[in-house]
Amino acid sequence: MQHDVAVQRASLPLRNKILVAFSHEVANKDDILSKVFSSNVSAGSQIYRDVKWSTKYYSVLFDVYIDIFDDLSEWLSEFCSSDYHELQQVLAGFIVVMPCKEKDDVRKILQLEQCKDFEGSFAAILATKVSFSNEMLCLLEEELVVKGIEMTVDQEIAGSGFEKFCGVERIREMIDTYEWPVDMVQLNHNTVAKEPPLTVPEIPLEEVLSKLHEARAKYLGMDSSAEGEKFAKDVAEELGKYL
């Protein structure tokens, strides 16, 4: 049974692409893309391969696909159709960037629910402008979040004391916390919590032991305790380099 699941997982394509769909009304596409991906990604080209994403714990390479839509509803109908089945299967995330004038404009994104192959990916709306009240915005956010779609507004809001990201920062956090396939991730071993080593690393033990013997003999011959302490500290530091 476990073997079957493993085989099934192995046969699934890697989710290693992020699709950014801009409304044609968004003027600063390049600016938003460079803020999110911090690289040379711009709206000038539709596909960027091997964009490097680094966090303090890992780095990963993924592709960024960019598209522009006139009508979100139409665009989503096409995207959710079986013609785009393969694309849906390889998407790690889907980001819609648009000004939110009417609440119904935003609700159109709920069409994503029709995409069966979209499970396991994140979906977000980055609102460049909001034309309705904060209360309505909160209602919409809650309505979408239960469907697995997060809405974030591209503007500064007061934090709650503990970092509360919004806009581009939140999108970056969503990419950071996405469960990237293990094969794609390169861990940064300086920051990731270290497990005890399974195999003993190669250490010049003979050299370390002979140095310890020499140091011990020298230490015993010392009269002053302060001098001895300093010597012991120096030896510890020197031996520490081997470990």
Binding site: T55, V145, S160, F162, K164, D176, A193, V200
Partner: protein
């Protein structure tokens, strides 16, 4: 007094990042609680009350950035406001330990998040330590011990 039955940490995207059970629940019940609370807490509006009734007990939750801290407490014996304070104390301890904690820190250091929680709450779900300073000091000594254990393992 507060006796917590369970604590869950859920991301805004509905992923459970940490869970600690202080009362006995079957695996089926645990799954149900996680599923029910993730859905209902995420669906609650920002201005709604942070205390909800669920099954035979109460649930107290608080959102910090993209994470929801959810605690199940007994209706009769536990104080809801004190539970909120415990959650806050736990978040403060993690914030100090990780120096501005974020979801990614918890994902990659989940065992540390559990260690800190173990210092805050004892195995029956009651608070064991209120001082952030003491919690951090204990966790720091655990880290030192762990490092020396690793060193011993290498030397042996």
């Amino acid at each position: 007094m507060v006796q917590i039955k369970y604590m869950l940490m859920v991301s805004r995207q509905g992923k459970v990042r940490l869970m600690r059970w202080f009362s006995a629940y079957s695996a089926k019940d645990k799954t149900k609680i996680c599923r029910d609370l993730t859905t209902s807490v995420l669906a609650r509006k920002a201005k709604m009350c942070n205390i909800v009734e669920y099954q035979d007990h109460k649930v107290v939750y608080k959102r910090y950035a993209s994470l929801y801290f959810i605690c199940g407490i007994s209706s009769e014996t536990s104080n809801e406001l004190l539970t909120l304070e415990i959650i806050h104390r736990y978040v403060e301890a993690m914030d100090a330990y990780f120096n501005n904690v974020c979801e990614l820190d918890i994902i990659f250091n989940f065992s540390k998040a559990y260690d800190i929680l173990n210092e805050v709450l004892i195995c029956d779900g009651s608070m064991t330590e209120t001082s952030k300073h003491t919690i951090l000091k204990t966790v720091a000594s655990m880290d030192a011990l762990e490092t020396s254990d690793n060193l011993d393992q290498v030397l042996s």
